[in-house]
Amino acid sequence: MAKVIVITSGKGGVGKTTTAAAFAAGLALRGHRTVVIDFDVGLRNLDLIMGCERRVVFDFINVINGDANLNQALIKDKRNDNLYIFPTSQTRDKDALKRDGVERVLAELTQQFDYIICDSPAGIEHGAITALYFADSAIIVTNPEVSSVRDSDRIIGILSSRSRRAERNEPPVDIHLLLTRYDPARVAKGEMLTVEDVKEILSIPLLGVIPESESVLRASNTGTPVTFDPESAAGRAYLDAVARFLGEQREMRFVKPERRSFIRVLFGRA
């Protein structure tokens, strides 16, 4: 049985798709057969982030409607044999994502994969609810910023009341916090919430801290999951998060500011 993981946040622009791409690629690098599905119907972007936008023929909605079969729509990643991308449709019909259809497609994917990563749209509307409904695990992508933390809290509430596991009184969805765009230098200055602050406020276990990094934009520019960039601090932080997800102990890196000389610190030069 594949494990279904939803990448969600409530708020937009916090790094859900970046995380979905990086995490899926990270799981594939660890040898797990992984598919990443775009649930953001009408605003398809996972294909661009994964660098397969020119290979999209059929999509999630085509498969739900029976216009194509699964293997026609799945795109095999060219860099890793374990990784597949399942793009969404650009339709403006927001009801196209039917819950029973999604359930059928997930059941079929379960036969072929170890992990199914669901990249949720922002908000708490139909698409976001459908993305989280079937989840076994959830990764809550949060920026150290008030509106993101508040929206994460809202999504955590929805996961514990409206997921299938909640409706069926099954063991609850396994919820993890992933703090992204973390800037240790600003945290040290008291300008940004600390990891501990966010953990304390949301009271869910921490899976990882991804530092603010130029390599994330570079990765999206080139359509490469950031975990495929061995030079990237963000990529390494994502790989640590994947390892923790798989049950390994890893120390948190990139949470302290890089050392700078006393004189430079005093005069504020970077």
Partner: protein
């Protein structure tokens, strides 16, 4: 950190963020899972009580809590005994026989 930032009022903005979040989330979590009818119930209670005594919106508080296994609907109505309304005919009621 620049030396003069030590005296800047913005220095602890993260601490302010944390405090604000704690307060707003405590409030929102308390209201979570509450049935949608609570605000309507509160409004109707204000209308009914308001026929007998002068009352402001914030003088009625409706909360759904839990005591062990029992759900508890708690209604607090603060009234000012010095301001009863005269028992005059109520045009609002007469105009609305339904």
């Amino acid at each position: 950190m620049r030396l003069w930032n030590l005296f800047s009022p913005n220095r602890h903005s993260a601490a302010i963020a944390k405090e604000r979040l704690k307060i707003v989330l405590a409030h929102e979590r308390a209201g979570r899972g509450a049935p949608d009818f609570l605000p309507r119930l509160q409004k109707e209670l204000i209308d009914v009580v308001g026929r007998y005594v002068e009352i402001r919106d914030d003088m009625i508080r409706v909360n759904l809590g839990k005591q062990g296994e029992t759900s508890l609907l708690e209604i607090n109505i603060e009234i000012d005994p010095a301001k009863p309304r005269p028992p005059a005919p109520r045009p609002a009621m007469a105009a609305n026989p339904g």
